[in-house]
Amino acid sequence: MTGSRDLTDIADRVVGWAADGEAVEAVVGRSRHTEVRAYEGDVESLSSAESMGVGIRVVLGDRQGFAYAATFDDDVLAETLAEARDNASFASPDPHVGLAEPDGVAVPTLDLFRPSLLQVPTEDKVAMALELEALVRAGDPRISGVESAEFVDAMGEACVASTTGIRSESASTACYVAVSCLAEEDGLTQTGFGFSVGGELGDLVPADASDDAVMRSTRLLGATKPASTRATVVLDPYVTAQVIAILGSTLSGEAVLKGRSPFAERLGDEVGSPLVTLVDDATNPLAYTASATDGEGLASRRTSLLADGVLQAFVHNAYTGRWAGTASTGNAVRGGFKSTPGVGCRALALAPGQLDQPALLRQVGDGVLVSSVIGMHSGVNPVSGDFSTGAEGLRIAGGELGAPLREFTIASTLQKMLRDVEAVGSDVDWLPMSAAGVSLVIRDVTISGT
């Protein structure tokens, strides 16, 4: 562990190469990760990886260009800067183009780097993957196989620096165990998954991951296809998180300004049930995607998107903030050093309600619990709002979970689902994604089956 000092040196050097009259931003990143997979009591694979590189953005007047290179080699970086500069000359002039500028918002102190993770011997990582696989296999006599059982750890460091005075360093560690298993009964197979996430080894609870995977796979055994109907659905926290993430994408400044959001003209309107309060807050250390700064090096901050169903705000990076006549909300997102900053929600969470899932089920009485969805990317259109996704789950009858169901879809529109929210659970679950999970009750959803 050399610290991100050397990354900052590289970023400073690239920024120092800026010619007169041009603005340059360098994002320098390095990450390491280890992945151990266990299979049938043995190590199936062990991979270790380190990747690094520099992304360079050049703004010349009102044009922007970008190039990246997956190396720290000075000659290549000089070439990459030249390439970015050349690329800028082909961009259309755009008065809003520009790098982020320091905005005075204090960078929060978040404890996201756990040096202890870097000290873990490989044997311990292997042992944890093997333990997880063994737990699942022993978890229920109906478990017929473990498709994958893995331990993964990752360390990432980055520095963003620019001629406009940005200079931000960040470093974080994360690790998780994840398992996906098969359960079999009467010749029919079902699958389940589970995981446990943390910042260091001691945070991980393989038994939780195992219990989830075993429960998810075995409770679906014997599942049948339901008849088509309209019903009240209860989304499991993991499903809610995926729905919220798509909703968040419709609230990005870019989608709004470019006319691709169904909520573009709705600021200040009551677009959802009064039960819906949605916040984006990457400063929350509980969030898996917590980070002190955004992809342009500005401080992360809390943005209230929906309060009691009323649309409060959209999220912005420096570019869309300028275009919208406001300012960045610290929502520049980028996929490492290989891309320019986009704009998006970073750590979404619904304000929780009063009831846990069993109490919600009793309140619903009759309906469907959706335990997993498939095909969100193919059946949900964040521009039109049309929503349709494959689903598995359990019937809710008399306030209790009943027969397992499979091979059906749930459909509505994002706009209508927001209005049809009947309850938000109290069971907030910080999942390894950019949105937190919570049980969510939505009425009048179309179930397509037989």
């Binding site: 991979s47 380190e50 990246y68 196989g145 197979t189 691709r260 990317h377 059906f408 879809t409």
Partner: protein, 465 residues
């Protein structure tokens, strides 16, 4: 790419096997890419990227060790080799130096114009033309985005069996997305074309045609009614529906999933798994198609594999790991996203062989159902066989006639059931749009294709009764 000397490779492979281990491999990659994006009427971004590095894999017993580096010097490669060897650590002394035998490779495609030789201004001009054509296509068009992308990926594979080979893979892609708005809100349409060729792609396709197709899809959907809900016959248009087979059975025929019991097609070789109309082929040698190459990412030449012949399952797809375990030859299906990833069993171009019926008769023979002209992406749970795919362009069929357009939604079905339910196959085979297939977090380019066909019953995930 920076050439790695043959004797360096020999020594690195030797070092990889030093701690014991039966198989070692060096995979080196040098990829350059360009992308240009137009959105909201402006050329937003022209970006260039360079990725270069090597991964070393060591297989020892049941264990695979893997490490990669962006340092292609002998010292860098040896460090990766030692890390991979240690990861696979299992007893026994090792071999030392591996003798390599360079293999000639015949790439299915020839590249007429290297994209790197084309001026950036020429690439950017394509985007402007597409923008203009889409906006001019209909007054309801509100927003247009277009993307140009090219990549040149040079790879080298050397392994302890003595193999030394390489490939030069050039791909060019263009896509257009359109938003149209009307009284019913907004709708989207898109069109993309991609081939394993150079810039001559644009001698074969007019970007204006692509733009107008995308615009027409968006505008048509403004008048669309909600898709129905429930089971009904579905006719899938030629070229528009290959993803159906990619999801319904392609993934389930990948030997790694089969071996782990995570496939409904396990233990079914030699059995009737589909309607006798179905002959399914995976073929990495189809010239110019998005999923073609000279060698796969383990150095095996691309080949044509018949997976299902007249409804009977003939074979699975294989890579080095699964082939070694089961004493099987590789089938040219070992692929990886980049040098940072371990290869897995992956599809290439997966398609259905042509049928004999007139596609017009297939539609006319459908009383009440849905005609899907273009499928979107899909997903599958290979263990249960349940899969979904999106419909980006679909219509009702009423009394044998294609009528009203439908809004978007997913279709859901079960692979083995759908394969048996294929009841009509047209004579109008066409390859479809370029796709990126995701598995275990790795994306690789794949192609697909089908003639017009009818499935007896699929569940349409709409909202209408």
């Amino acid at each position: 790419m920076a050439v790695i000397e043959e004797d360096v490779l020999s020594r690195v492979l030797g070092a990889a096997l030093q701690g014991g281990g039966e198989f070692a491999e060096v995979f080196a990659e040098d990829k350059r890419s360009t992308s240009a994006v137009l959105d909201d009427g402006r050329i937003e971004e022209l970006a260039s990227g360079r990725d270069r590095g090597a991964g070393v894999r060591v297989i020892s017993g049941e264990t695979t060790g893997y490490a990669h580096t962006s340092d292609l010097s002998e010292a860098g490669l040896r460090a990766a080799a030692e890390a991979a060897g240690a990861a696979a650590r299992r007893g026994g002394g090792g071999s030392n130096v591996v003798a390599l035998d360079r293999q000639a490779v015949r790439h299915p495609s020839t590249v007429a114009i290297q994209p790197e030789d084309v001026a950036k201004a020429t690439k950017v001009e394509l985007l402007r033309r597409a923008d203009e054509a889409a906006r001019g296509a209909d007054g309801a068009v509100r927003q247009v985005s277009a993307r140009y992308g090219d990549s040149r990926r040079r790879i080298l594979v050397a392994n302890s069996e003595g193999l030394l080979t390489g490939d030069d893979q050039v791909r060019t892609l263009f896509s257009v997305g359109v938003v149209a708005a009307g009284d019913t809100g907004m709708q989207t349409g898109r069109q993309s074309v991609g081939h394993t060729v150079g810039f001559e792609l644009f001698d074969r396709y007019e970007v204006e045609d692509m733009a107008r197709k995308a615009a027409s899809r968006a505008v048509t959907k403004l008048g669309a009614r909600p898709a129905p809900s429930g089971e009904m016959p579905v006719v899938i248009g030629a070229g528009g529906g290959g993803v159906l087979f990619h999801e319904a059975c392609g993934h389930g025929l990948e030997a790694d999933l089969v071996a782990k019991g995570a496939s409904v097609y396990r233990d079914r070789v030699g059995q009737q798994v589909a309607s006798p109309l179905v002959t399914l082929i995976d073929d990495g040698t189809v010239a110019d198609e998005w999923g073609c190459f000279g060698i796969d990412d383990e150095g095996s030449p691309a080949q044509r594999n018949v997976l299902i012949q007249d409804g009977v399952l003939t074979d699975y797809m294989w890579d080095v790991t699964r082939g070694r375990k089961e004493g099987r030859p590789r089938s040219g299906n070992g692929r990886r996203q980049s040098y940072q990833h371990l290869p897995m069993v992956r599809m290439t171009n997966t398609f259905l062989a042509n049928g004999t019926e007139d596609p017009a008769d297939i539609i006319a023979g459908t009383d009440h159902g849905v005609y899907v002209a273009q499928l979107g992406g899909g997903s599958v749970n290979t263990a249960t066989g349940d899969f979904v795919f999106g419909m980006w362009e679909a219509y009702l069929i009423e009394d044998g006639v294609v009528t009203e357009p439908l809004r978007e939604g997913n279709l859901i079905g079960n692979g083995p059931q759908v394969l048996t339910d294929i009841e009509a196959l047209g004579d109008d085979f066409a390859m479809g749009s370029p796709g990126t297939c995701g598995k275990d977090g790795q994306g690789v380019p794949v192609g697909d294709g089908v003639p017009t066909l009818r499935v007896r019953s699929l569940t349409i995930g709409g909202t209408a009764a």
